[in-house]
């Protein structure tokens, strides 16, 4: 029997709530991409749950006309884990930011990824605290001057992808707010993945950290400053794909193609490699020596946590039979006190 699903449109996922982000904020582009992407999935609207923590990005659920939970700072992975474990059939997404996910919520993030809970995490990385008005974040670069670091930050930043890979994440990707097509394609691959997906989205905060990613988003520099990872394809980039990345012993290097060097000499991307080693190496590539890689770094198949949890309940129920209240209470070493006061071992019906 097939159930006819209503055809959903982008507008079905928009709420009547006024969007309160600053005009020009990169969050708008991400919201728009998600709103137009969800209807293409053939999933009933009521099965989507969007969970968030605290921060600019975490206002996301209010603007999505799905079930939504705007929780507390850093704890969205915990809430989402509970939802997904209780209701594995739901499509659970987390919208979070670099502060929410990597500072206060770092512990929950790595453990969700380690367990491979089937939750899709979209982390908006703007390398700054927006909602609290401009303090440096765990992804801000060393030396960054902000309100809380007037003489420059002395913190070394996290590389969010390396962190996710280190936690054993089974799906790790990076995309950019204004690369709409790439963004949606990345989300699509995340949905198709069983288990956790971690997607870092470079997002411009035009108020407190404007232009953080301009070096790679401008038309002129886009091709040379970013490189798209595509499974099974060589790592080539630049205008007319004239540049490539190859391995020189254990070190990656940028090479000019032509003159006997072709795409075949470059590293061929394998997102399904069981070892995260190369993905980790490529996640480290950054300007000025390398273009910034975007796309799917890793996508490997592992059993999803919530399904393993359900399977255990089912298996035990099969083995032992469904427990009844009678079994529950009238078990253990029982004894019966009879009406006449005598005592016998075991359960004796009155």
């Amino acid at each position: 029997m097939s159930v006819e699903l209503p055809v959903l449109k982008k507008s079905d996922f928009q709420t009547d709530q006024e969007v309160r982000w600053c005009p020009g904020c990169g969050d708008y582009a991400i919201l728009s991409a998600v709103q137009s992407f969800f209807p293409t999935l053939g999933i009933p609207k009521e099965n989507f749950v969007v969970v968030s923590g605290i921060g600019c990005s975490s206002r996301f659920p209010y603007y999505m006309d799905t079930f939504g939970f705007h929780s507390i700072h850093g704890r969205a992975p915990g809430i989402a884990t509970g939802i997904k474990m209780a209701r594995p059939e739901l499509e659970v997404w987390v919208a979070t930011g670099d502060g929410d996910a990597l500072s206060i919520g770092g512990n929950h993030l790595i453990h969700l990824l380690r367990r491979n809970v089937g939750v899709k995490i979209v982390m908006f990385n703007n390398r700054i605290y927006g909602l609290t008005k401009g303090q440096y974040s765990p992804t801000s670069e060393v030396g960054k001057r902000t309100k809380s670091t007037p003489f420059g930050s002395i913190d070394r930043p996290f590389n969010p992808l390396s962190l996710a890979l280190g936690a054993g994440a089974t799906f790790v990707a990076r995309t950019v707010d204004i690369f709409q097509r790439h963004l949606k394609e990345t989300l699509r691959q995340a949905v198709e993945h069983e288990g956790s997906a971690f997607i870092e989205v470079y997002q411009n905060c035009n108020i407190f950290n404007d232009g953080a990613f301009k070096y790679m988003t401008e038309k002129e520099s886009r091709d040379t400053q970013s490189i798209q990872l595509e499974h099974g394809q060589p790592l080539v980039f630049g205008k007319d794909k004239s540049l490539g990345i190859r391995m020189n012993c254990t070190q990656p290097e940028v090479v000019e193609l032509g003159d006997g060097l072709g795409p075949d000499d470059c590293l061929t991307w394998d997102a399904h490699d069981p070892s995260p080693a190369l993905a980790f190496l490529v996640a480290q590539l950054s300007p000025p020596d390398f273009p910034t890689p975007i796309g799917v770094f890793r996508s490997v198949s592992r059993p999803a946590y919530e399904l393993a949890s359900v399977a255990q309940v089912e298996e035990l129920t099969e083995q032992r039979g469904e427990g009844t209240l009678q079994d529950l209470i009238y078990s253990g070493e029982a004894w019966t006190v009879r009406q006449d006061g005598t005592v016998v071992s075991g359960v004796e019906e009155a």
């Binding site: 939802i83 209780a86 059939e89 739901l90 070493e333 029982a334 005592v343």
Partner: protein, 628 residues
């Protein structure tokens, strides 16, 4: 007359006196590896089958593997058996089994004058005496005058009994606790059969181990029988227990079963998010075994994730629970407040221990009451219930779940280390007597408002994801009445604050009338809560038998208080509030009823002795009245 157990018949030998006792308190104390918990449990099971009422209290060391022979490594198990209705494991042991010097040192002060001490002399060597801090051997230096000391080479005699067993010495020595158990069985006229059956069942696959323990048990029994030193045996007759089926249960076990029962009665799958913490971990352990009851357990990365996962599961439509102890409750407070704001059902089981900070993890206290009441930012009322005994944890768990689901609120259930690990016979309830907790999720899309309210309870609808047309957003920001949209309106905030408080207040409408034990009015009312019930009841009844005008009430509901509490307090001239903290309930009573109460706190990591409360009652009632 005594009886010795031989292979197939009982042989009567010498004459010994048999004394009847109304009750007996026995403490088994030894090194962590000596199997004292198991020994105590065996004595308990056997006594249960003899029809005694009973109560037990284990005392574990805080360290997992404290050095052998050290005081820190002493593990003890106290059991009280009686021919009448009792509620506590007793104040002072009548008999102490001390398997080594450290065990003796740690327990001696508790043993009643002229009490029995059975000591394993084999372990009282120079090294062990030194480890326990004894300069001279207490078994020989006369310091135990005033007790009835029985010395026995328990280790040597166990080895001798197992000479032909073919087991190595280490395995033989592991049977010495059963030798000691055999001795105590003889002293208190208990049959050995229950333990023999248990051993055979337990070591079904290793019959040689079962046989060795059985041999040690009977050897211990026979040793007392032959030795002239033992001239008296004691007997405790059955208690007039209500007819029914019983099992001995510990508080955490009863709590876990209560939660599963609530799941069954509500039709909601049970979800526990938890993080290991003493003394609450057993709830996680117990529930993890109940998978075939549809129970999902989640050991989270920390206390915060544990409660958050439970809140998520609750949003998804599960009966959600988190279990913890004081430090964990502190970590969970922000998330619990989220549950207050989003108005989702959640049961928080807090098994209290000594605080503040890490405090005394393995010791008991009732000092999280104010944390439970007020330990959150903002005006954030939460229902608070307290279990009063191991078996009562079952009923309190059901009641906490009922309130959480009916009123759409987080509920804090307080228990403590004393009842969590203590045990008592639990009269098993008939299944029909369990409350009906069936609940319905909201399903009507038309006119759905996530923050509309039930007229009577003020509960908002439980609208779970997956229900078409009910898509809505919840969160920690203040909600607009009805729509649940984010609202910064001043008047709306006041209104919602009022709703959240009123909802909790209305729970009082369902709280049963207080039961006053004793006269409904008089000179003194003792108000207890939580695990002090047994000690308070014992003390109050004793004082009343002596003609004092004293009554008792015991509070299960602390927020809200029972509606008739004010009236009851007013009917007594004075009010005494004993609690294992520095006066937390007393503070609430004073604030809530403008009533001065006499606060009696005990913060020693140990439960109240009945005598302590009794003495306090006498002190108050016999002191000259202040008539100003």
């Amino acid at each position: 007359m005594t009886t010795r157990i031989t292979d197939d018949k009982e042989v009567s030998e010498r004459q010994v006196e048999l004394q009847k006792m109304g009750e007996v308190v026995v403490r088994f104390a030894g090194d962590s590896g000596d199997g004292m918990q198991l020994t105590g449990n065996q004595f308990t099971s056997t006594s249960a089958l003899m029809g005694n009422d009973l109560a037990t209290f284990p005392d574990f060391p805080a360290e997992i593997r404290a050095p052998a022979g050290s005081i820190a490594g002493v593990s003890a198990f106290q059991v009280r058996i009686a021919d009448y209705d009792i509620h506590t494991p007793g104040d002072a042991p009548d008999a102490l089994v001390a398997m080594n010097p450290a065990a003796l040192k740690k327990s001696l002060a508790d043993v009643r004058p002229n009490g029995i001490i059975i000591a394993n002399t084999d372990e009282f060597d120079e090294r062990n005496l030194k480890k326990a801090g004894y300069e001279t051997n207490p078994l020989e230096d006369g310091s135990l005058e005033g007790y009835r000391l029985y010395t026995a080479d328990i280790t040597t005699m166990t080895r001798r009994a197992l000479e032909d067993s073919g087991l190595d010495l280490k395995t033989q020595d592991r049977c010495k606790n059963f030798f000691a158990l055999g001795m105590i069985y003889w002293v208190y006229s208990r049959p050995v059969e229950t333990s023999i059956t248990w051993l055979k069942q337990k070591f079904k696959r290793r019959p040689e181990i079962a046989a060795a323990n059985v041999k040690a048990l009977t050897a211990g029994y026979n040793f007392c029988d032959i030795t002239e030193a033992f001239q008296v045996r004691y007997e405790v007759e059955p208690a007039p227990l209500e007819a029914g089926v019983y099992r001995n249960i510990m508080g955490n076990g009863a709590l876990a079963i209560g939660l599963v029962a609530a799941s069954r009665r509500s039709g909601l799958p049970l979800y526990l998010g938890s993080y290991p913490i003493t003394p609450a971990s057993d709830i996680l352990h117990e529930l993890a075994r109940f998978k075939n009851y549809g129970v999902t357990t989640f050991q989270a990365e920390d206390e915060i994730a544990a409660v958050c996962a439970a809140i998520g599961a609750s949003f998804g439509g599960a009966l959600a629970v988190t279990s913890t102890s004081g430090p964990g409750l502190a970590l969970k407070s922000e998330a619990i407040n989220l549950a207050v704001m989003v108005e989702l059902p959640l049961v928080v089981c807090n098994i209290q221990r000594g605080g503040p900070s890490t405090g005394l993890p393995t010791k008991t206290e009732q000092s999280d009451l104010l944390q439970a009441m007020f330990g959150r930012n903002g005006d954030s009322p939460i229902p608070v219930l307290a279990a009063s005994s191991p078996a009562d944890c079952f009923d309190t768990a059901l009641e906490a779940c009922r309130i959480a689901v009916k009123y759409m609120v987080p509920v804090i259930l307080l228990s403590d280390g004393y009842i969590a690990n203590g045990s008592e016979p639990w009269k098993l309830p008939s299944l029909e007597s369990l409350p009906d907790l069936r609940t319905e999720f909201w399903s009507k899309a038309e006119g759905f408002q996530p923050y509309s309210r039930d007229e009577k309870t003020l509960a908002r609808p439980w609208a779970v994801p997956g229900t078409p047309g009910l898509e809505h957003r919840i969160g920690g920001l203040e909600k607009e009445d009805l729509t649940g949209n984010v609202s910064y309106s001043a008047t709306n905030h006041e209104k919602m604050t009022h709703y959240r408080a009123e909802k909790v207040r209305r729970i009082a409408n369902e709280i049963p009338e207080l039961v006053v034990d004793g006269d409904p009015a008089g000179d003194l009312l003792v108000v207890g809560w939580g695990s002090t019930q047994g000690a308070v009841a014992g003390a109050v009844r004793q004082a009343r038998r002596e003609g004092l005008s004293v009554s008792q009430i015991h509070l299960r509901y602390i927020n809200p208080f029972p509606p008739d509490l004010g009236d009851v307090l007013r009917r007594f001239e004075r009010v005494l509030v004993p609690e294992m903290n520095s006066g937390q309930l007393a503070l609430l009573l004073r604030a809530g009823y403008m009533r001065d109460v006499i606060s009696y706190g005990k913060v020693q990591g140990k439960p109240f002795f009945r005598t302590e409360i009794y003495d306090k009652i006498k002190e108050i009632l016999e002191a000259p009245r202040d008539v100003s």
